[in-house]
Amino acid sequence: MSFDLLETLRGGHESTLNDIIGYTASLALLGRTLKYLAVTPLLPIFVALYYGESTLPFLITSGVMIGLGVTLERLQSDPDLGHREAFLFVSMTWFVVPLVGMIPYLIAGQGTVAHPVNALFESMSGFTTTGSTVLGEISFARHSRSILMWRQLTQWLGGMGILVLMVAILPELSVGGAQVIREESPGLSIDKLTPRIQDTARALWGIYAAFTLGAVVVYYGLHLAGVAPNMDFYNAVAHALTTLPTGGFSPEARSVEAFSPIIQWAVILFMVVAGTNFALFWYVSKGEPRRLTRNAEFRSYLLVMGAVSGLFTLLLFYGVGLAEVPTNIAPLSGDIENALRQAVFQTVAIVTTTGYASMDFNTWDQSAQLALLFAMFFGGSAGSAAGSVKIIRWYLIRKAMSREVFKSVHPEAVRPIRVSDDVADDDAVSSVFVFVMIFICIFAVSSVLIYLDGLRVGLELSAIEAVSASIATLGNVGPGVGIVGPMNNFERFSSATKLYMVFLMWIGRLEILSVLVVLSPSYWRR
């Protein structure tokens, strides 16, 4: 500040763009991030070696990450991450990493993702944990197991956040780290759990990794116990890697429908975990379970899922929610366990924005589909891996609304908005309204654009299909209804629409504002 002041007094000097935004610092840190990510293709390499497939796609990807990383790193030896640079760093990383992450699809050249636009879509959908796919035919005949494992891994890396991982590893992010995590993680603010941000990032990734490992053990354990025939070790790992990040990719063409009821219940459990604020688990591990059970957002989250599941259970049990009888699963009407399981599974998968399906909900009646569509707007908890609006924002909006009502009756009343034991200040509440407004505007405009582009290329879309495709990508949910239903895919859209959806997934993952800041002209001026 004092330096700026003196410069101003002296009459200022010619300022370059790099003085305003230290983009070389952001690029150098991006380089370092890529360099560290170069170890991640090791997992598919092991898979490839085990199944005798080509390791070339991953070796090249790793090479590109190292090459690009080292080149960018040279731009600035000791990058200093300021407030403005953090925005650029986060937005750029979330664009460049999926761009590099599409290389395996291109080199492997298998199926529809050999096309660059499709490969980028699949990669962005992976890292942003959306789960929308353009894979035409999902089978081991068409795609190698290593490529499909890479697809699962991209979701796992994106779930807790690439940059949270970097903060956990890189000591130079100790000061800018808190802001980087705030821009990357969903929610209103960050929960610093420890004095050092690095320890917080490590704790979050540790909990995330522990639950992932837990999911592998449970899935594969059920297989070994003989109650989950299809859940071999490959599938157990593959599904654990996309359950915890609320991703939704599956190497099975019929998603979780391919597995036994007990597996579906287990997946429900881990999806609920994945949609919860991971900071709360940290408190539980510190012997404060009440921080979880008394948390207002966690309670609302369970309440919302309970209510929506209850509605669907009734609709499915009495058969009124079905337009046609699904052929691949046991009859629903009259079977309470089946109806309950299908209702809960679909609800949890949608509310947490995971996007798995245990049945094709394209067979549901329009009324039930519409209800499911609305459920896509809920989103999971702040500080989780879930996308969309997030429960905490709806909770605050509900509280603000009831305060307005109360105040019209008692104009003099002073009534703070309480969340658990804390009071939310009015700035926080108004920023929630702004976020939701922007989210809904972008959603509405995108629905129209997707519909119009469908008309242009002669793709017959119904209104509800266009709307669902819009929220499925912006909210990082994954599947929509109709042609983008859980057992279908996004491949039939034009390249223009797909690239637009890549944009939607990108801004959706970073909760829009982080990207909007970087895209605004004022950001690039002094």
Binding site: S2, L9, Q179
Partner: protein, 445 residues
């Protein structure tokens, strides 16, 4: 170590930024905006709340806290915070106070108010100002090894005789070591052939007499070597401390205070000081009092704009040295730019004193140079140290290049280190290091 800092003002933040790299720091403040800002600007855990409430302290992890620093703006709150903390837990408590009477009370028993260490910001600042006045052209002075060794920083003005000389030529004072030269923000380690240029800041370590002699060589010829005639402007607490200390040293002190009641009150307290009740920006009055002939002017007004104005006026009227005690750190460069010779910020002085005390478990005393870019510290040598039992020229090769051994204190004597000096276990060594390697040096030494 887990450190809890209550009060995230300039002092608290300064301490935190000094300690966050090596310790786990949690901060408490009542201002939510301040907390929000700190969360993203420092690697600390910042919590909103009132530090005098036990619940807040416990939520911030009081039980695991090893050291509690109370640095709010209110003295009484700081004492209450330390007292509150001690009721349930036993961290080491440090309180910052402004009122010197509280310090005197505490010094009686060293346990009073449940405070384990008390720092009086006004007294500290006054001490610093008085030390700087005592050494012409110095901008920073610190004492080590019970006053046996002194460190001083000098800023070379254009007409200083030293400018143009090499270090080898200048090194004619016994018992003195050149620790470093700060040039354009870079820390240079002086070699024999290094030439001094104007605007260099030179850090020397040596006996007080050596430092004094050196200061005579630094100043331009026409500058008087003794400070005999000083004006203090503003009878704030700091101003009164400064005036009292200077008058006790036999310096001719005049204190200007605008408020007549305060002027009366101060005149009763200070017997040897001439108290003048007038506005210090009244040029006619200043001329009449020969303000321009003073050896030094120290401004201790409660408002930085006025401090700047009076200091500027002093320089314009011909005062040799203008020293300003100022509150806003961001204006420091501005003060220096327009010709104020020395600026002293009470917040920074206090913050450094507390940080220094905290780090004294390893280093006994510590001094920060140029916003912590370099450090001078005193350390007692144990037999395991790389320095112990070897000539300096041998052992220095095992330390990073940017380390200078400034002085050695042994049995109440100061020894100036030369290449063949052998350091013994039990010696106190005063070291200068670049900030980046200080941790490494500490571990080896």
């Amino acid at each position: 170590m887990r450190i809890l800092i209550v009060g995230a003002g300039e002092v608290g933040s300064n301490i935190a930024s000094n300690l966050a790299g090596t310790h786990e720091v949690t901060m408490i403040d009542r201002d939510p905006e301040r907390i929000e800002e700190l969360t993203y600007s420092l690697d600390v855990l910042a919590k909103e709340g009132d530090g005098t409430s036990l619940r807040t302290l416990e939520e911030a992890g009081l039980e695991q806290t090893d050291l509690l620093i109370a640095s709010t703006d209110v003295d009484e709150s700081n004492l209450a915070i330390c007292g509150t903390a001690k009721t349930v837990s036993d961290p080491f408590t440090i309180a910052r106070v402004k009122n010197a009477d509280l310090l005197r009370t505490w010094e009686r028993s060293r346990r009073a108010f449940s405070v384990d260490f008390m720092v009086c910001s006004t007294l500290l600042t006054a001490n610093e100002a008085v030390q700087v006045v005592g050494l012409p052209l110095s901008t920073d002075v610190d004492r080590f090894a019970n006053g046996l060794v002194q460190m001083a920083e000098f800023e070379l003005v254009e007409d200083s005789p030293l400018v143009g000389q090499t270090v080898g030529e200048a090194d004619r004072v016994e018992s003195l070591t050149f620790a470093s030269i700060l040039r354009d923000g870079e820390v240079l380690i002086p070699r024999g052939e290094t030439t001094f240029t104007s605007d260099d800041k030179v850090v020397v370590i040596g006996s007080p007499e050596g430092v004094r002699q050196f200061s005579l060589r630094v100043i331009p010829d026409e500058t008087p070597s003794e400070t005999e005639n000083v004006f203090v402007v503003g009878a704030s607490e700091i101003g009164v401390h400064v005036a009292r200390q200077l008058q006790d040293r036999g310096v001719d002190v005049r204190l200007i205070e605008q408020d007549s009641e305060r002027a009366d009150e101060v005149a009763e307290m200070l017997s040897e000081t001439i108290v003048l009740n007038n506005d210090a920006t009244d040029t006619e009055f200043l001329e009449q009092e020969n303000f321009g002939k003073a050896d030094a002017v120290i401004t201790t007004l409660d408002n930085d704009q006025k401090n700047l104005l009076v200091a500027l006026l002093a320089k314009r009227l011909g005062v040799k040295r203008a020293i300003s005690v100022m509150e806003s750190e961001e204006y420091r460069d501005l003060f220096n730019e327009v010709g104020v010779d020395v600026t002293i910020n009470p917040q920074i002085v206090t913050g450094e004193e507390i940080a220094r005390f905290t780090r004294e478990q390893i280093a006994e005393k510590l001094s920060f140079i140029e916003d912590s870019r370099a450090e001078v510290f005193e350390i007692e040598i144990d037999p395991e140290s790389v320095l112990a039992g070897r000539p300096v020229e041998e052992s220095i090769a095992d330390l990073p290049a940017s380390v200078v051994i400034g002085a050695i204190a042994r049995d109440d004597r100061m020894i100036t280190p030369r290449g063949d000096t052998v350091i013994e276990a039990g010696d106190h060594v005063i070291l200068f290091t670049d900030d980046e390697v200080s941790e490494e040096v500490l571990s080896k030494v």
